[in-house]
């Protein structure tokens, strides 16, 4: 039994909610790829390299975590790295609906990778990258919202 998991996301920027999902998944799966989606449709604030750099900083104590990026379909990327698990974090009910549909589609394209969902902790249930950006823009307090290692990077970018 060997489990290779991929946790995809935009991570623009990574939040404490993302880190929580990464930490919990890394305890259970043998290898965890944290994969930055490089999607030309979206216009992220941080470049792919900046996002990978931030993810590396906050996960450098987790030995079985690999930071990567991909473009195209997630199901195809999962096949390429031999992942048999796709990890998704769930907050609200509306997340769930969307993610349920994505799980069905991904399974149709690549039946070898199965989607496992983790729910955020209560404390992180309202956290999202958009919320973080809004608060950073007005120099609000990001404690417990963004890992301390990358808070100054987030403030610098959003207030430049």
């Amino acid at each position: 039994m060997s489990s290779i998991a991929v946790y995809p996301g935009t991570f623009d920027p990574p939040t404490c909610g993302h880190l929580d999902i990464i930490t919990r998944s890394a305890k259970v799966f043998d290898t965890l790829y944290v994969a930055v989606l490089n999607n030309s449709d979206k216009t992220p604030i941080f470049s792919v390299d900046e996002r990978k750099n931030m993810l590396s900083r906050i996960t450098n104590n987790l030995n079985n975590v690999v930071i990567t990026s991909f473009n195209g379909l997630l199901a195809d990327y999962a096949k390429q790295i031999n992942a048999n698990v796709i990890v998704k974090g769930l907050r609200a009910v509306s997340d769930y609906e969307y993610e349920y549909q994505m799980a069905l589609i991904n399974n149709k394209i690549n039946p070898a990778a199965d989607t496992f969902f983790l729910t955020t902790t209560a404390e992180n249930s309202f956290l999202s990258s958009s919320v973080v950006k809004d608060i950073a823009r007005y120099k609000g307090d990001l404690t417990n919202m963004v890992p301390s290692e990358i808070q100054s990077i987030v403030y610098s970018k959003l207030t430049e």
Copy 2:
């Protein structure tokens, strides 16, 4: 990295939806306990032994699956068997809400076991033990609803 998972349920009776969750989980976790909830509040049609027997029949080709039963709190039972994963299958949005709350509670009682959710396949999205019992009672067709190994057991019980 060693993963011990527990998949709890009433399984009154087990359906193809349950078997799907079991099969997919058994591919990813090292050991999977399928644990029949023995709860005096509910009044199941099948005894705990009958349910364990049906689960054994339908999983006997899965080497890392162990059929058990428990009473009391799931979080306590997970601790007792050293499980670090609780597996739950999700169908509808209303399932998700309830299970999200249960995951938060279980995590509070036993932080060592984390809940991972799998969604049912589209084909099984409407399946439940109650639906199966309603259909069996009127001698309807249970193909693709209940694993073939236990269909006659289900019909016998519900029409006796």
Copy 3:
């Protein structure tokens, strides 16, 4: 093109919400069976005959409506009366989830009958037979909740 529809329910008692669904469906389908579910599991306040009688009173100006009752599976009853349409009224989101699952099951058992949903009007969105019974029990005002033809029957039964 000939459409035979069945609108099943407990109707314990019928409300203005039920009558609204009946009226709107009767405008579109050639024949509409309004079918009282005679289910031994539930314990309705009104007998099947009382419920059929109330439904007859409030629909006697609708020529293509037939009041009936059934037990067993709805999908089987639909087959028996050659219905190609099952009508369901929807209020809240939680109704929708349950009814979606029932529509999938009914379609599996009887593919010849397809479920069509109507949503309640805004004014009736909070109405249900339970609400009506609660209010009648305390002699509250049932105007616009229960058709006027049967209000005295409802009050008599609930305050006897």
Copy 4:
């Protein structure tokens, strides 16, 4: 401008979630009636007097809170005490749907009292009287679930 609010509930037993709603409402409304629903249909574990006693203990530092009980329709009780506000606490989406319908009904019966909703804090989002009873029954830890003043009362009752 004078606001008289009523916060109805079963409170079987009161939880930290209930106390949070009471505390926050008491800061905003002039008078807050916390009203135990005395409903013969439900079968609570604690008597009405026990529940009123527990509520008194946990709110005795809140001067504008009055502990009462009522039976019948909430909208009628609100009229009797001249309340112009009904307070409801919301957790999940399914709560919301039900409470929305109840707010519409209550407004129809008594337009003078309007329903105001508060959402639980993230920490209390999974808390309910049922969860508390389940945990107490198995002598689990009730810290942060039930106010400390009444924890021993809850344990005694559930393990007697």
Copy 5:
């Protein structure tokens, strides 16, 4: 009793899910207008003529189906073609909420046309025009997602 139904949509492109709703509606209503929304706000990939052409190809065995297009308010268009039924397909709960509100609005503007909902089959529950476009763009497999008659048209457009 004569039923004229309109099934509006963007159909950019039509999917197997759309065709399923069309086929089932055409069995029940006397005439079914499939009406392409020509809305300047959206920026579809396919022109109105291309979408009408694809709809014609996949419905040419359905005699009571008419392919059209419209702009402006749906409720006004329904009046113009004397439709007494608006058909909508429902997938997820979030669809339902939005469509419920639209049904109330349409009914306010044009009370003569009533909205009837059909739910997608389980197999199509994750299908949407956006999903189809994403997969086509990466030359993924569109079998069972887009009717075979128009698959090459879809691939050509999305990979040009």
Copy 6:
């Protein structure tokens, strides 16, 4: 006990649903700030001044209502005006989810202001500024959708 409430919104334009929330809140809270969000990200049809002017016209009989505008974070603005209550109107379940998350975030940034929710009446449940704009654009009937005092302003703007 003194309650200062703020009801924030885009109000582009204000609808009968907004006015209903304002009227009901003004009955319960000592002072009610109706605060137009001046957010550079959105591109409203009406200028901030036009929106404030419309709000003044429809609330000029409500003595404890103050029309203002703000930019930046709502939680910061609430602090600035010493508000201890944030008022939000809720329609659908999806509103609720989003607003629940916003309430948790606002409470984290400014614990002194607590969010109270009111649900729209059944009659207004489908009303929104977007619906109003769509209907006005096609010269549809805005009765009971937009307060009569500002209907001509809305028509003028949308059809200019």
